[in-house]
């Protein structure tokens, strides 16, 4: 068996090993269906309960759309995991903005807001886009203006003492880690200016040579110099994600 087929086999095994099963531990991943049903990412029990209260109320129950709004709103108020609602995930300027989307699976209508500032009710704003415009997605301060004009409270500051403290600590740590690539300076706060690929390779080569004296830091994925690995060693985790 040639060297390349061996490495292919190893790669497949690694991929398979790194993959997680859809079946959850100790039980059956697929459970028989019983209406109504609410499913949500993460263990956001309060949000699922809020949606369940709406969808299971009375004989006919509330609508699926209203239940989704209730569930997502609950997480916006509770600031689930710090990843939903105001007060979390500051950007490089320390500001918190909200993204939200709602979809009606009966009519295929969709409403969404992105990078919305100064309005704390993301999912409600998305529903207003769905119900009062022919559009699908409104962004930034224009989404803010739309939401406030449709009656949502605002403008209000979406930051919190926790998010501002988190941001201040990050600034003191030379704005690391961050989402930039192929820019200089690489290891401190901006302003940044673009560096071309040759310069990027050169500075990264020095970094790899320098680091091989100590702990080996793999900064470049061998087969894709166009997308340096450090752009994949991003710090996406349970408390920092979409």
């Amino acid at each position: 068996m040639g060297r390349s087929s061996v490495s292919l086999l190893v790669g497949l095994l690694l991929l398979r090993f790194n993959w997680c099963l859809a079946v959850h531990g100790g039980g059956v991943g697929e459970v028989g269906g019983v209406f109504p049903v609410v499913v949500s990412t993460w263990p956001f029990r309060e949000a699922v309960r809020a949606a369940w209260d709406v969808v299971s109320a009375g004989d006919g129950g509330g609508s699926a759309v209203d239940a989704v709004v209730a569930g997502c709103s609950a997480c916006e108020v509770l600031r689930c995991d710090g990843t939903v609602g105001p007060g979390g995930s500051p950007d490089e300027n320390g500001e918190t903005t909200l993204d939200a989307l709602i979809m009606n699976g009966a009519t295929m209508e969709i409403g969404a807001v992105a990078a919305m500032r100064y309005v704390k009710d993301g999912i409600k704003a998305a529903k207003l886009v769905m119900e009062h415009s022919l559009h699908t997605l409104l962004v930034g301060e224009k989404a803010t203006d739309f939401a406030i004009s449709m009656g949502l409270p605002g403008p209000i500051n979406l930051s919190s003492p926790e998010s501002l403290e988190k941001w201040a600590n990050w600034r003191q740590n030379h704005c690391q880690p961050n989402f930039w690539k192929n820019v200089a300076p690489a290891d401190s706060c901006g302003p940044y200016h673009p560096i071309n690929l040759a310069q990027a390779l050169d500075s990264a080569k020095h970094e790899v040579e320098w680091s091989q004296g100590g702990v080996c830091q793999e900064r470049f994925q061998s087969d894709s110099l166009l997308e340096p690995i450090h752009s994949h060693l991003k710090f996406i985790d349970r408390h920092n994600h979409d």
Binding site: V38, R45, A51, G71, I236
Partner: protein, 136 residues
Amino acid sequence: TISMAVIDKMGHVAVGTSTNGATFKIPGRVGDGPIPGSSSYGDDEVGACGASGDGDIMMRFLPCYQVVESMRQGMEPRDAAMDAISRIARKFPNFVGAVFAVNKKGVHAGACHGWTFQYSVRNSSMHDVEVITVYP
């Protein structure tokens, strides 16, 4: 991020996502939260999907649209979820993300890559919310 799917007593499907995105993002950056077909998608005729993870990568693959369309073609939720995640992992082995899939019969499943994932469920056969863990 919360992504939620609801099937009501009439059998109607709705999905929603709400998030404040990635921490220390470059100002103006939007993840896949508000992108239909990436963070969530639903269709009364088929079922629904919700997702969470690295939105910069996931919005390039629209995993939830893939899940719903796979179920439309007859795939079970578990296979549809695994297939959507594997398509991303093949191109981005270091990617972090997860989806849940639920079909119009209420059968649900989850799949993930790069982290342990949990999703929550409540239906009429349960007394309270149940949390399901999907291990890497």
